[in-house]
C-alpha cells in the first residue's frame, strides 16, 4: 500500500497528518517540482520584507518527513499520471505507482499574454523562488509596478515598499481588494497604503512591457507609459491542472471533489487551491484558495485515503490580512444579495469599519477593519448557521463576546468544549 501526494504545501501536510492519525505504517511519497522542505507561501512577502529569516519560512520542523515517515521527492516535476495503471510519471523518467493519490498541485499565477513578458525583471509572486529572484535584483529607489491590487499584490507592494522601492499598483477594477472588501472598506485601506507612499492606478491595466533587455517602462491600457525597473504580476491564481488537461479527471476551473475530497476517479483525491469544493454559503462548488481550507481539505482527504470515512462540511472564504498599520478580517459575501440586511459601523478618523450581511437571521458575510479581536466567534456563528436576530446589533461592537450570546447558547458552547 502506497500513498502518493503531488504537491508539497499546506494541503499536502494536512493529508500526511490525516493519514498518520489512522495509518502509521504504509509508505507516503510526496512529489514536488520545488526543491524546498515544506514552506509557507503566505510567508514569502514577510521573507522579502526581511521580517523573517530563511529558517522561519518553513511550515514544519526539519525532521518532519522523517517523523511522519514520508519519502520526499523534491525538485522533480510530475510529467503525467496514468489513472488506469495508477502510476505517476516523473520528468526524470522515474515511475511511481500508487494505491491512493492526492492531487495537491495548488494554484499558478495568471499572467495575461502581453508583449514584453520575456524582459528581465518581470516577476510573479507566489513561490519562494519568485521572491528569491526579486531579492537578487532589488535595490533602494527602484521603481516597481505591481499589476493587481488583490491580497498578494498588495502584500508584494508592501514588501517592496519596505525594501525601499517606489511602488505603483495597477488594478483593473475600480477598487483594490475587490475579492474581500466593498468600496468603503477598500478606500480606508488604499488611504493607509498611500500614506506609506504606494501609488494607485485604478481602472487600468498593463498592456505592454517595454525595454531592450530589462524592463524600462510599461504601457497602460490608457496608453500612458510609466517608467519602471521591475514589474510584479499578481493578478490572481488559477488552479494548477495543466498535467490533467487531457485526462478523464473532471475539472470545472478547479478539480471537482465530493465531500470526501474524492475526484471522479477511484482512489484519486484532491485538496487545496487546485480544487473546486463545496462553499456552504453559496451552496455550490467553487475554488476558494485560502490556507485553512487547504489544510482542512488535505486532512479530510488523508483520513479518507487511510480508510477513515470523514466528511468535509464545506467552507467559505475567510481572510486575515494587514498592511503596515491597518489590519482586516473578512469572510463570506463581499457584496450584499437580494433581501439581505446590512449592518454597518464606520469611524473614519480611527479607520474602524465593521459591516455585516444578514439574511433570514444568518450571517452571510462580514468585513472588519481595525476591529477584529474575537472575529472567530463570528465565523463560528456563520459556520453553524446560528440565528443572530436577537443580538445582531451587538455584532458591530469592538468587544463582542460571550456575554452578547444568549445564556443557554454560551453555556452550552463553553461546557461542551
Amino acid at each position: 500500500m502506497r500513498y502518493v501526494i503531488i504537491g508539497n504545501s499546506i494541503a499536502s501536510c494536512g493529508c500526511i497528518e490525516g493519514i498518520r492519525k489512522v495509518d502509521l505504517e504504509n509508505e507516503i511519497v510526496v512529489i514536488s517540482n520545488e526543491p524546498y522542505h515544506v514552506y509557507s507561501r503566505p510567508l514569502i512577502s514577510y521573507w522579502l520584507s526581511k521580517k523573517i529569516s530563511d529558517d522561519k519560512i518553513y511550515y514544519r520542523p526539519k525532521n518532519y518527513y522523517e517523523k511522519y515517515k514520508v519519502k520526499p521527492i523534491l525538485g522533480v516535476k510530475v510529467e503525467r499520471v496514468d489513472f488506469e495503471k495508477k502510476k505517476v510519471y516523473l520528468e526524470n523518467g522515474e515511475e511511481i505507482s500508487y494505491d491512493k493519490l492526492l492531487i495537491a498541485t495548488g494554484g499558478k499565477p495568471f499572467i495575461p499574454n502581453i508583449p514584453g513578458l520575456n524582459k528581465k525583471n518581470v516577476f510573479t509572486f507566489i513561490k519562494f523562488d519568485d521572491v528569491k529572484e526579486i531579492d537578487k535584483v532589488i535595490c533602494d529607489g527602484m521603481r516597481a509596478i505591481v499589476v493587481g491590487g488583490g491580497l498578494s499584490g498588495l502584500k508584494a507592494a508592501e514588501a517592496l515598499t519596505k525594501r525601499g522601492c517606489d511602488v505603483t499598483v495597477v488594478e483593473l477594477a475600480d477598487r483594490i481588494l475587490g475579492s474581500i472588501l466593498d468600496n468603503e472598506g477598500a478606500k480606508l485601506v488604499q488611504e493607509e497604503l498611500e500614506n506609506h507612499g504606494i501609488k494607485f492606478i485604478l481602472k487600468n491595466s498593463v498592456i505592454e512591457i517595454i525595454g531592450d533587455d530589462k524592463v524600462e517602462k510599461v504601457r497602460l491600457q490608457s496608453l500612458e507609459e510609466i517608467p519602471a525597473d521591475l514589474v510584479v504580476f499578481s493578478i490572481g491564481v488559477v488552479p494548477n491542472v495543466d498535467i490533467f488537461k487531457d485526462t478523464q479527471l473532471k475539472i470545472n476551473r478547479g478539480i471537482l471533489v465530493n465531500e470526501r475530497m474524492e475526484t471522479n476517479i477511484q482512489d484519486v483525491y484532491a485538496a487545496g487551491d487546485v480544487v473546486s469544493a463545496f462553499d456552504m454559503i453559496l451552496g455550490e462548488n467553487r475554488v476558494i484558495p485560502i490556507l485553512p481550507n487547504a489544510y482542512i481539505q488535505g486532512e479530510i482527504a488523508g483520513l479518507n485515503m487511510a480508510g477513515e470515512k470523514t466528511k468535509y462540511d464545506g467552507g467559505f472564504p475567510i481572510n486575515s490580512i494587514g498592511f503596515f498599520d491597518i489590519h482586516m478580517m473578512t469572510g463570506g459575501l463581499v457584496n450584499p444579495i437580494d433581501g439581505c440586511e446590512i449592518l454597518k459601523r464606520l469611524e473614519e478618523e480611527k479607520k474602524i469599519y465593521r459591516k455585516i450581511y444578514i439574511k433570514e437571521g444568518k450571517i452571510l458575510g462580514f468585513m472588519f477593519i481595525n476591529s477584529f479581536d474575537r472575529t472567530g466567534m463570528i465565523v463560528d456563528l456563520m459556520r453553524n448557521k446560528v440565528d443572530v436576530s436577537n443580538f445582531k446589533d451587538r455584532l458591530l461592537l469592538d468587544n463582542f463576546g460571550f456575554l452578547d450570546l444568549p445564556k443557554e447558547t454560551r453555556k452550552e458552547k463553553i461546557w461542551r468544549s
Binding site: 482542512i296 489590519h327 453555556k411 468544549s417
Partner: protein
Amino acid sequence: MIIETKDKTKRRIYPKEEVCIGCHLCEVYCVLAHSGTKDLIKAFKKKDKPTPKVIVEEKEGYYITFALQCRHCDDPLCTKACITGAMHRDDKTGIVVCDEDKCVGCWSCILVCPYGAIRRGENKKVASKCDLCLDAGEPACVQNCPNSALEIVEA
C-alpha cells in the same frame, strides 16, 4: 514509529459565571505566571502592558462576569489556519501551544478560534494564548481565584 502518540489533553478549565465576581485576579496571576519573575510589580512594570492569556468576559450593564481560556480543542482550527506552523499541539503534553518565535502576527488563529480565546500579545506582535501553565503544574488562574469560580476538569 517516530510520531509520539501522546493523547490530546483532556484538561479543561471551566468557569462558573454564578460565582465569578469579576475581580480580574485570574488575569493578574496569569501575567505573573508567564512573566519569568515571581515579583508581581516586576511582572507588570514593563514597557508594553502585559496581556493575560485568560479573558474576563464582562460588559457594562451586565451583572454577570466569567473568565475564559483556550479550550485546547480536540480538533483545533487555530493549528490548521496558522500560516507559519507556530500554532501546534505539543507532542509531550497534548496541549495546543503557540511557538512565539515562529508567529508573525497574521492573526489567522484569531480569525478561526470559535471561543475568541486567542489574543494579540504584548505589543500586538505575536499571538498569546493559555498554555494551562505547562511549567507550573496547576494553572495560576484556577489556583488564585478567590471565589473558586474556575475549576480544572480532567475529562
